[in-house]
Symmetry: C2
Subunit: 140 residues, 2 copies
DNA sequence: GATAAACATCATACGACGATGATAATTTAA
DNA sequence: TTAAATTATCATCGTCGTATGATGTTTATC
C-alpha cells in the first residue's frame, strides 16, 4: 500500500511522536531502533523536513524532531512527499478523465472504496495512533 | 493502486466481457483498441491464461477469450497474478506480524479501511462492472 | 583553532517493472 | 507442402525505487 520510503517516514514520525519532547533524535539512533538503513533514512528525513513535518539541526548534538504537535500532523502530510496524494488517483482503470459525469465501468463501485482510503490518510492524525497500547517495539 | 500490468489485464477482461460471445480476439486487435503495447500485452494475457481467467488459441484465427462467464470471475482473480493478493497485506507499517492480538499502532484504524479494499476485489465480479455506470450500488 | 559529531550530499549499484524487437512454434488454408 | 497468421518466447533496454559507501558541511566542545 505504501512505498517502502513512505513507510519509513511514517514509522519515524510515530517514533518521534511517542517520545514527544522537543529533544532531537539522531538518525543513527532512529535507524538502529527501527531497523532502517541509516543513509537512506537520512535522505528521507531530509525530505520530510523540507515538507515541514520535521525540523532538523546540524552539527554536534543535532538531529530531528517533529515541527509541530502530533495532533496537527495528518498521515497524508507524512506520506505525500513520497507517494503523492494517496488514494487520490480515483480511476481504477487509469483513465485520465473519469468522473461522475464521464465514468469508467468501475467508477460507481470503486469510488466509495477509494474515498475511504483517501479520507483515512487525510483525516487521521499522528496523535490518533499514539493511544495504541503497543506503540513502541524494540526489535531483537 | 493497481500496477500498470494489472490495469492492462483488467481492461482486457472487461473488453472481452463486453463482447461476450465465445469468439476469439487477437492481441493485435485488443492492443490497438485499448492502446496497450502489443508485445507486452501478449505476455500479460499469456499469464492470465495460465491463471485460468482466459483461454488462448494459437495459429491462424487464434486469439483469446474468457474461460468462464463474467459472473464467475472476480476482480481479485484478474489482478492477483500481477499484484498479488490486493489489500491483503494489512499492516500499514510493514510489520510481518501484525494482528488483533499483536497490533501495530495503526492496526485498529487501518484494518477496516484495508478490509474494504480487499473485499471490493474479492467480491466484485466482472459482470458487476458491465451494467454500465450508475447502476444502483447497494452499499449503505 | 582543532577535533569530533552529526546532518547533507554525491556517486554508484542492483533489481523490478514496463516496454520493444526479433525469433520460434503452432495452426489454418491455399 | 507451402504460406500466412497468430500466440509463445527470448534477449535487451530504460527508468525508478531502494540501498550502500564516501565525501562535504555545519556545529558544539575542548
Amino acid at each position: 500500500m505504501l512505498s517502502q520510503t513512505a513507510e519509513y517516514a511514517l514509522r519515524t514520525v510515530l517514533y518521534l511522536a511517542a517520545r514527544q519532547g522537543d529533544e532531537l533524535h539522531r538518525v543513527s539512533e532512529i535507524a538502529e531502533d527501527l531497523d532502517i538503513p541509516q543513509n537512506y533514512l537520512s535522505k528521507t528525513l531530509h525530505l520530510l523536513a523540507r515538507a515541514g513535518v520535521l525540523t532538523s539541526s546540524r552539527g554536534k548534538h543535532g538531529g530531528f524532531r517533529l515541527s509541530k504537535p502530533p495532533s496537527k500532523i495528518t498521515l497524508a502530510e507524512v506520506v505525500a512527499p513520497f507517494d503523492g496524494p494517496t488514494g487520490a488517483r480515483i480511476c481504477l482503470l487509469g483513465r485520465v478523465a473519469c468522473s461522475d459525469k464521464d465514468p469508467c465501468p468501475a467508477h460507481g463501485r470503486w469510488k466509495s472504496v477509494s474515498n475511504e482510503v483517501s479520507t483515512f490518510f487525510r483525516e487521521t492524525k499522528v496523535s490518533d495512533l499514539l493511544e495504541s497500547p503497543v506503540a513502541r517495539v524494540k526489535r531483537a
